[in-house]
């Protein structure tokens, strides 16, 4: 009887579209965070409590995409999509898990409950980051999506609508400079 090892025939399938969606969402999120840290009082106050300098990285295991934020000299900047050592790292275990979150199929609270990501670093700093992310997601998503992915939708007023407009018109496009 012939026994054949067929491993050479098999390769994992690439998922370029999902990778693109996650990378784009990371870019939007990073740029929006940078803008919100200037314009939104609550995000500004949260970032003030972070140590300085501090690097925050979102990553998708095993090899990206990545999103890096840095607080330096009091200012939060989106640094782009290159992996670097981080004080706080949120690592999605799989591309599929990251895609569920970044395409707003499940919210970040649900993603934690489903063990989709690991956290390296100070939990209290992570909680502050999560509060910022909740606010920024409130800006990025229309209410119909926010209601599904967030436990509480941040209330919007005229000022916040204006911030949203700035994030979309200027903040996110400005983030493209990091490509």
């Amino acid at each position: 009887m012939m026994i054949a090892n067929t491993v050479a025939k098999w390769r994992p399938r690439e998922k370029p579209l999902k990778k693109f969606v996650v990378a784009s969402a990371f870019l939007a999120l990073g740029s929006a965070m940078e803008t919100a840290a200037i314009l939104d009082k609550d995000v500004r106050n949260e970032v003030k409590t972070w140590k300085d300098p501090m690097v925050v990285m979102f990553e998708v295991l095993p090899n990206g995409p990545y999103m890096v934020l840095e607080k330096r000299n009091g200012r939060l900047r989106y640094l782009g999509m290159n992996k670097m050592p981080a004080d706080l790292a949120i690592s999605f275990k799989t591309l599929e898990g990251a895609f569920l979150v970044m395409s707003a199929q499940i919210g970040t609270p649900q993603s934690y409950a489903e063990h989709r990501a690991t956290l390296k670093g100070d939990v209290s700093a992570a909680m502050s980051l999560i509060r910022c992310l909740n606010i920024v997601q409130g800006y990025l998503f229309p209410k119909i999506i926010s209601k599904r992915v967030l436990k509480r939708v941040p209330p919007m007023n005229l000022t916040k609508h204006a911030i949203r407009a700035v994030i979309y018109a200027l903040g996110v496009p400005y983030g493209l400079r990091r490509l």
Binding site: Y112, E114, L119, S128
Partner: protein
């Protein structure tokens, strides 16, 4: 219809040895794990109660010999203590850990195990969730309270006195290899500690059943724990020599531990951790005070889940006699009644004021609460004003 989550994870790798003279298996179990020279971690209370001697007796005639004993674990263990004990582990040439004590001892042992395996002398660099990569040293947990359930959980909470917070470490690597429940180990707990640790176990089970990570497996453990606590906690508090009640509570605590280790906890634990870190309120006391308040806070989101809990909380007669639309509130009322009963039997504090929390510290507690990771899994969002309002409600 029971909802099934679209995705969940569940682990329970701990071997449980429970019952008469169970502690005498400790040397055998270490040998099975390939260990020869354990570090025993405990505290002065356990030593004074004669429980350490019971454990040491288990090594008689064995090739496994205790390499070192640390007796001075404080009630709120800190990263400084952990670093020092890890140094003891290395200097004594130990290859395994046996923890004999309550939550602080068990959590200290888990944290020591991190440093023993990963190396280094700074626990802070290992903070986080699911990031430990190396297998840890063989570890046997022998709880002497009932309890934190730490003998079957993947979490360790260690105080950081420099930052005035409680640090959380969660990893599947932190599970003990073996948990030993021996009826002798909890017989000497004073009534107030019995009550507080029992309420800690109840809070674990209730929050695990109602938080975002709940799943059918954790639910089964949670409801079993709640029913056991309903029947045995007042008995154990009223008569500490009731061995059946003591052993049942040890089992209930373990069941609740498995449940919350796989479903996490919520707002009640965030608040309890906060008042524990800022004002040193014992963890079980904080949970007892905040459990009904946290449930009322979450009521508009998970009333249906709290209604289901009335069955294990109060029994089938009360459950059937209560109209469905009132069962959720009845669950809260049942817990309030239990708190009052435990207060009568043991002096368990009913308010933060009774627990010695200074009024001027409430804002600090609220800040600490929102920075605690537990409420991530709470069904309802918790912001600073919410936390402050709940803490004020619990004050008097």
């Amino acid at each position: 219809m029971v909802p099934i989550p679209s995705y969940y994870e569940f682990q329970n790798p701990v071997k449980v040895i429970a019952g008469k003279v169970a502690v005498d298996n400790v040397a055998y179990e270490l040998d099975q794990l390939g260990a020869k020279r354990p570090l025993v971690i405990t505290d002065k209370g356990v030593v004074a109660a004669g429980l350490l001697q019971v454990v040491v007796d288990g090594f008689a005639g064995s090739e496994v010999a205790i390499g070192a004993i640390f007796e001075d674990t404080p009630p709120d263990s800190s990263n400084h203590v952990v670093n020092a004990v890890a140094k003891m582990f290395r200097e004594a040439g130990c290859d395994s850990i046996v923890a004999v004590g309550g939550g602080s001892v068990l959590d200290t042992a888990k944290a020591v195990n991190i440093l023993a395996a990963e190396g280094g002398d700074d626990l802070l660099q290992y903070m986080g969730a699911e990031i430990l990569k190396k297998p840890l040293k063989p570890f046997i947990a022998i709880p002497t309270t009932a309890g934190t359930g730490s003998e079957v959980t993947l979490a360790a909470i260690i105080a950081n006195p420099d930052k005035n917070i409680k640090m959380a470490f969660t990893s599947a690597r932190l599970y003990p290899n073996v948990a030993i429940l021996d009826p002798r180990m909890t017989l000497t707990m004073p009534p107030k500690i019995t009550a507080a640790t029992g309420m800690d176990a109840l809070t674990h089970a209730v929050e695990a059943y109602s938080c975002k990570q709940k799943n059918p497996l954790s639910d089964a453990y949670a409801t079993a724990a709640i029913a056991m606590i309903r029947d045995y906690l007042p008995r154990a508090v009223a008569d500490g020599s009731d061995k059946d009640a003591r052993f049942a509570m040890a089992n209930a605590s373990l069941l609740a531990g498995v449940s919350f280790s796989n479903a996490m906890v919520g707002v009640v634990h965030s608040l309890a951790h906060a008042v524990g870190g800022v004002c040193h309120v014992p963890h079980g006391v904080g949970n007892a005070i905040f459990l009904p308040i946290g449930m009322e806070y979450n009521m508009d989101v998970v009333a249906d889940i709290y209604a289901e809990l009335l069955l294990p909380l109060a029994g089938p007669d009360v459950y059937l006699a209560t109209p469905p639309e009132r069962r959720a509130q009845k669950s809260v009322d049942t817990i309030k009644a239990l708190n009052r009963e435990l207060n009568r039997l043991s002096g368990l504090p009913l308010t933060l004021k009774d627990a010695g929390v200074p009024k001027g510290k409430l804002e600090d507690c609220a800040k600490a609460a929102i920075n605690d990771g537990s409420h991530t899994f709470n069904p309802k969002e918790l912001e600073y004003n919410d936390a402050l309002s709940l803490i004020r409600k619990a004050y008097e």
